[in-house]
């Protein structure tokens, strides 16, 4: 799956978690812009893992701060 298609699918998955309807770009930050707390992160990560059948370990999550970084990581994890 290419980056555009991956990004589109993640965009759909993020909707229920984007309570304030923040406009999302590659630079959107999960903690600062979307105000995700640890519980939201867990549910959101689980949704992405199930959609793409991948594991995003805590170690990998620690490197992901923005939407763009997440898309890149998911593209890479799909191999």
């Amino acid at each position: 799956m290419d980056r555009a298609e991956t990004s589109a699918r993640i965009a759909t998955l993020i909707e229920p978690f984007n309570k304030k309807g923040v406009a999302i770009t590659d630079a959107t930050r999960f903690t600062d812009d979307l105000e995700f707390d640890s519980l939201t992160v867990m549910d959101f990560v689980a949704a992405i893992e199930d959609e793409f059948d991948i594991i995003i370990s805590m170690n990998a999550q620690a490197e992901i701060e923005t939407y763009g970084q997440l898309v890149d990581a998911v593209v890479k994890l799909q191999g």
Binding site: S38, M42, A46, D50, D53, I55, S57, M58, A60
Partner: protein, 411 residues
């Protein structure tokens, strides 16, 4: 490259404590409301496993994890005194150097017999047992799959090691299975579970979870800190109760709850287990437990093997308190009593602290648990029962909860 600092220049000072400002503020707000500091309680005198003088008041203790009430057992006290006389006040050394006395070997032997396992390794605290075992056995390239509600010592053990850390939703067998399935074949896998989760007092479906873990070729570690002595036919914990202890590779436990002193341990049947004594840094690079502590622990563990009556009374206490609090209208962490912990859910921290204080004024001590230690950012009043609470004390406790609940506006 940074610019060189001239001899007459000084850089601006950055206070490393700034990161704690939000917590300092939250604590100040709480204390400004006039509430007694829930995290600054002093026990001036301890009368028994269930009663102490706290902040000048005689108080029933309902938040000590002293499940089996062994802290004032005459045989336990006597063993401690004797060891203090015979072996001195401390070992001043690591277990692998000068810190292994006859008593350390004796308590490990008592643990092997208690759990009917081949190996036992005693750490200076329960925290260090999790820290040491998890960080040492799961290394770079391995995966740790763990419940999201795991204790801080488990998380810290994960953080200290180099393994990939993969959490799953609390007690969710399917979520755990999915993660195990996605881990590349041939990779080392450790599943970490707890028998009793101490915040809500709920137990894990270990039988099903361990079966899934084993099918995926994982090794299994179970923390049974909150079940030792009273869950399972021999008090070996939730895994024994559910008939799957033989499939647990490592059981982690503590001396600071049912055993009634301090220290932690791991028991295992792994044939190579003894090598842990040389490679596990939280075991090697710290002083061993004092002789009096291991002597009290060994005596207590041996008495816990034959504590059927105390176990029965503890369960009776748990059932009575759970039912009465539920009937009174409190929201509890579990639908039915699953352990010796009963967690009362508070609407928020402010009213939780007010209720905690009202209980203290009634003469009852419970634990106020707040985020981030709690699941789902809840504020909890956590009650842990003791086999030494009399039926009358349990009735007193229920009355105190009802009155305090009205005072604090919870009921």
């Amino acid at each position: 490259m940074t610019d060189m600092l001239a001899d007459d220049q000084t850089q601006d000072h950055t206070d490393l404590f700034s990161k704690f400002d939000p917590l300092i503020q939250m604590r100040a707000n709480l204390l400004d409301s006039g509430v007694e500091d829930p995290f600054g309680l002093v026990m001036e005198r301890v009368v028994s496993p269930t009663v102490a003088i706290c902040n000048g008041r005689e108080t029933i203790l309902l938040g000590t994890y002293n499940y089996m009430g062994m802290t004032f057992d005459p045989d336990v006290i006597e063993a401690g005194k004797q060891a203090l006389e015979d072996f001195g006040s401390g070992t001043t050394g690591s277990r692998v150097l000068n810190g292994t006395y006859a008593g350390h070997r004796a308590v490990e032997q008592a643990l092997c017999e208690f759990y009917a396992m081949d190996h036992a390794m005693v750490f200076s605290t329960g925290y260090q047992a999790n820290l040491g075992i998890i960080s040492t056995i799961a290394g770079k390239g391995d995966y740790i799959v763990l419940d999201i509600d795991s204790h801080a010592s488990i998380w810290d053990g994960c953080k200290m090691g180099d393994a990939e850390v993969v959490p799953f939703k609390h007690n969710d067998i399917e979520a755990m299975e999915k993660r195990l399935r996605r881990i590349p074949a041939g990779t080392g896998k450790l599943v970490v579970l707890e028998g009793v989760y101490s915040m809500m007092g709920d137990i894990a479906p270990l039988k099903e979870m361990i079966a899934v873990a084993k099918r995926h070729g994982a090794m299994v570690l179970v923390d049974e800190a909150h079940s030792m002595g009273f869950i399972g036919p021999n008090g070996r914990g939730v895994a024994e109760e559910q008939g799957c202890l033989d499939d647990v590779d490592f059981v982690i436990g503590t001396f600071s709850k049912s055993v009634g002193t301090v220290g932690g341990f791991c028991v295992s049947n792994h044939p190579k287990f003894e090598i842990m004594r040389l490679v596990c840094r939280p075991y090697v690079f710290t002083a061993s437990l004092p002789p009096s502590v291991v002597a009290t622990a060994a005596t207590s563990i041996r008495k816990l093997m034959h504590a059927g009556n105390k176990r029965a009374h503890l369960w009776e206490n748990s059932r009575t308190l759970h039912k009465s609090l539920k009937d009174a209208g409190f929201q509890l962490g579990t639908e039915s009593p699953q352990s010796a912990i009963i967690s009362v859910i508070m609407p928020d921290l402010e009213r939780g602290a007010a209720m905690w204080e009202a209980l203290l004024h009634e003469g009852l001590y419970v634990n106020l648990a707040r985020p981030p230690a709690t699941p789902a950012n809840m504020t909890l009043l956590r009650c842990s029962l003791c086999a030494e609470h009399s039926a009358e004390q349990v009735q007193q406790i229920i009355g105190m909860f009802e009155r305090a609940g009205k005072t604090a506006g919870i009921l």
